[in-house]
Symmetry: none
Subunit: 203 residues, 2 copies
DNA sequence: CTTCTTGATTATTGATACACATACATATTG
DNA sequence: CAATATGTATGTGTATCAATAATCAAGAAG
């Protein structure tokens, strides 16, 4: 039997700080860095610790062939453009290698007044890299000429297709061999909503 | 024979290594880092060695195939989501058929702290719909597991490839038949910058 | 006289040691 | 039985050390 010392606590298994309970949840190592980069790297590590890892899937609203959205240019996000020289590094907002900044809204929504978004339904434009669930940026101020990818409503059905305007007639051409081009007849009720400028595809 | 004490050289002022003749041309500091980030940071530092002023030639960073940007979520653009029922019309901000609104920045930049953008160079991922000039949204808080498309620096070269982690080994797999998968050997200096969440392609 | 060799000298660099801070488990106390 | 006290174990930042690399100029070699 052990005596009863006046000291509290004592040696026991399992005591002590748990492994991985540190700031980074992993073992650490001491390295030497150029002085000017120390704050940059510390800052980066701080940001890195914040969010663990998860990317929820986008909610996919139900609709027919497409769903539209429209910009309301009230937002602004500046994205610093880094030099290609930071080849093996990591981007940091405090980095010197920023060459330019990019705002998704500004970059892709040139004419907020005439631009809207469409969520793609179906894969009829698969070969153009437009897939189900993608979001298209559509500008209706661009002339829908031959060859452009357009959002068109034909006979009350909304689709995204490549516009083909030839002497032989006008067609809405899918880019997927499982689909056939849609002829635009005289009596067809065709409305071109606009020209697709960008496709945004999430993995 | 040669009784002369071979005292070549000798003590003299001004001798010795010059200051700033190190790898970084500046004083250094010792810091503690999470182990997993040590190679990342070392790689990064390698790429940021200063240009030779009067110093001998330094290893120049190789050309890369991507350019990076980083978000700075200061912007906000609400994009009204229209119902697919507005089939034959065009969307209007005042329209009743708005179902939801979408901001490009908010929608695609979930974690501004850990997200950056990369402008793609080359067509090695053509079959995944990633083309030269496209902009990728990259989140480094997402775990780079098997099958993810990642931005990786391997031996100081930046690439976008699909990550393949099998029992047989790790590969960086291009999605273009003109390219061959890159084996990641034990001695390879692989750094995963982050996981590609979205590709934005303009027509 | 010119060029090369070589030791002396000093900064760099990675590794290690150490002190302190933090987290945890449980005996002791009330 | 709950709250507290105390010892133990690990994390974190800084100091220190030894090996390496860079540089200079005195001698040696030609």
């Amino acid at each position: 039997m052990s005596n009863t010392p006046k000291t509290h606590g004592g040696k026991r298994p399992g005591a002590g700080r748990k492994k991985g309970s540190g700031l980074y949840n992993e073992p650490t190592k001491v390295v030497r860095l150029p002085e000017s980069q120390v704050p940059v790297i510390k800052e980066w590590l701080k940001a890195r610790v914040k969010s663990p890892a998860d990317a929820p899937e986008l909610p996919l609203p139900k609709a027919n062939n497409a769903q539209t959205l429209r910009p309301d240019a009230s937002s602004h996000v500046d994205l610093p453009l880094f030099s290609h020289k930071v080849v093996a590094g990591f981007p940091s907002p405090a980095d010197d290698n920023i060459e330019a900044r990019l705002d998704l809204n500004e970059h892709y929504i040139r004419n907020p007044e005439t631009t809207f978004l469409v969520r793609v339904q179906g894969d009829s434009m698969k070969k153009s890299g437009i897939h189900h669930g993608d979001i298209l940026v559509v500008d209706r101020s661009i002339n829908p000429v031959d060859g452009k990818i357009v959002i068109a409503a034909i006979d009350s059905e909304l689709t995204v297709k490549r516009l083909s305007v030839k002497s032989t007639g006008t067609w809405l051409v899918p880019e997927n061999d499982d689909y056939t081009p849609i002829p635009v007849k005289e009596e067809s009720n065709l409305v071109i909503w606009g020209v697709v400028t960008t496709v945004m595809h999430s993995f």
